[in-house]
Amino acid sequence: MSAPPGTVTAPAAATTAGAVRLAHRRPLRIGRVSLLLRPRGLAVTVTGLALLLLLTALHLRLGDIPMSLSEVVAAVLGGGTGGARLVIMELRLPRALTGALVGAALGVSGAITQAIARNPLAGPDILGVTSGASLAVVAATVAGGAAYGGAGGVLAAIGIPAAALAGGLAGALLVYGLAWRRGLDGYRLVLVGVGVVAVFTNLKYWLLTVGDVNDATRAMVWISGSLNARGMEHVVPTALALAMVLPATLLGTRTLAVLRLGDDTVRGLGVRIDLARGSLLLCAVLLASAATAAAGPIAFVALAAPQIALRLAGVAQPPLVVSAVAGAVLVTGADLAARTLTPVELPVGIVTAVLGAPYLIYLLVRTRRARGAI
């Protein structure tokens, strides 16, 4: 939440150094560039990244064939035995990378949506992305049940992500188009999202009752979100989406911070609100669609990661970078648990909620204790 640039040059503010301080923090100035450093956010990010690295290392080591750390390092650097390289590079690394990238994308997507809707319960689900993707995949699975089962992995590997991507983007387009009425309004967006999501979700439920129970179970695995058997063909598109969209999103950080002040104030500050909100929402939709196409609608990450991030960083609004790290840690940790702790390998989307929900509750209770009441 940095002050708009105008206030810094105001004579009244210039006379006292304290007037331009924000929450007792001194902005860092290099020439005309002014930055506000938040040590706590930085510390949380660094800790999160370290944790992510640790989890990824564990991910690569543990499994049916346990590996030592030196074997893992050797394999990643291109050495090691052929068998170790196969296990690490072909099986475990793509899966770990997909998980981390998907988590980061969902975290950022959730942070943007919650900031724009000014609602902690909002997420890319409200934008129609996840429900659209789920509907498309359930329809494809139930309609083409036997075909997919018979054709084996190849068709499923290409067909299902494509259906998910198309469904997610179509859903988002529908929500946005219906919510647009001489401009966009956060409240209307949320309500329209509720309506569209309800249609998609109930169509999905209906399709689940129509089909064969085996198809329904298979569809249920996908709509729970799974990282099972993910390869480089899942890593690359997600990484590309993240690499293209994330910088654009970070450029919008300032606008995002201002958006919560209310439409009139934002316009008064000289922000072209519809353009800003539209492009930020587009970023959120693209990230969520890419993530959903790669791993299915992993539940709860987009909702929980921003809420966890803002409580850890001690700020008022979901911080983008910390949300990304929190999402990546949550999904990677959940996938590690799904792969190693349970006797039957569970879809990762189930474990994210099992791990993330208690932690979010713990943070809620702790914050409440610290502030008396929030």
Binding site: N119, P120, L121, A122, I126, L178, A179, R181, Y187, R188, V190, L191, V192, V194, G195, V196, A198, V199, T201, N202, L203, Y205, W206, L208, T209, V213, A216, T217, M220, V221, S224, A299, F300, L303, A304, Q307, V344, L346, P347, G349, I350, V351, T352, A353, V354, G356, A357, P358, L360, I361, L364, V365, R366, R368, R369, R371, G372, A373, I374
Partner: protein, 345 residues
Amino acid sequence: MTAAAIERRPLRHLRARRLTILSALAVAVMVAVVLSLMVGARPVPPADVWQALWSPSGSEPDLIVRDLRVPRTALGVLAGLALGVAGALMQGHTRNPLADPGLLGVTQGAAFAMVLSIVVLRLSSVYGYIWFGLAGALIASAAVFALGLAGGRGAPTPVTLALAGTAVSAFLYALTSTVVLLDQQAMDMFRFWQAGSIAGRDSAVAGQVLPFVAVGLALALANAPGLNALALGEDVARALGRNIALTRFLGIAAITLLTGAAVAACGSLAFIGLIVPHLARALAGPDHRWLLPYSGLAGAALLPAADVAGRVVAHPGELEAGVVLALLGAPFFVALVRRTRSPRL
């Protein structure tokens, strides 16, 4: 004309208008009930319905009306009423348009308890697991409220409650998904429960949930003035002499009883509790003393109507009421949201 008279006149108009809308909604409920008794794979004319209700002779139309249509109609009215009121309460307390009555873990608590009862006790009838569903709903909601209370003094704020409820719901949904993925019999039951339906329920079911709905409705109506005060902000409400913690507790108890009973009997229909209050708010404005009855009656009309539509659309088969509700109700809802500047929370 004195100043006081001028001020009072619009109020009188408002009251008349509100009573008119209330009666219109009551008529809509009656129409839905009559249609629900008449329409189906085997249409029954009004005269036969009348005869079946008051002087049954054991003929085929009599059996259809008495054994099949009366139970589902009664259940539809009860569940619609319960979910409409619970939804309005929930949105009022959380001041969040995204809050459905299942938000505090009620729906997922019921689902998990029912799935567990199927897997562990191998129950095979719907009537067996209604009680488990109700118990699960009550426990989950109590847990959410306790978590909201933990650590701080005084009543938990709506944001804390909503987030704690979402977290608990997600946790329980994950457990339910685990169980149904491992047990195909549970999956088979769960997918139909999830779609939400009032068909094929025993006539005893409506009687079983009636006491819970009745107590819940009484609590809800008692909660309305307090909720109006809370809408002004907690500080103002406190200054007006309201006990915030008590008001919140009353509201949550009402929501839990109403939603728990409806969801255990009819499956995941919480969506009706999400949409109906928005429709009712467009008619009633923000006053909860009127919003709650409007919302309840609208729900009681809409659920049986959706059930009837499900029988007509998929004739001679049926479509689950929950599905019809979303397919017909949601586009209407979106149109309403786009057209009007409805009062906001």
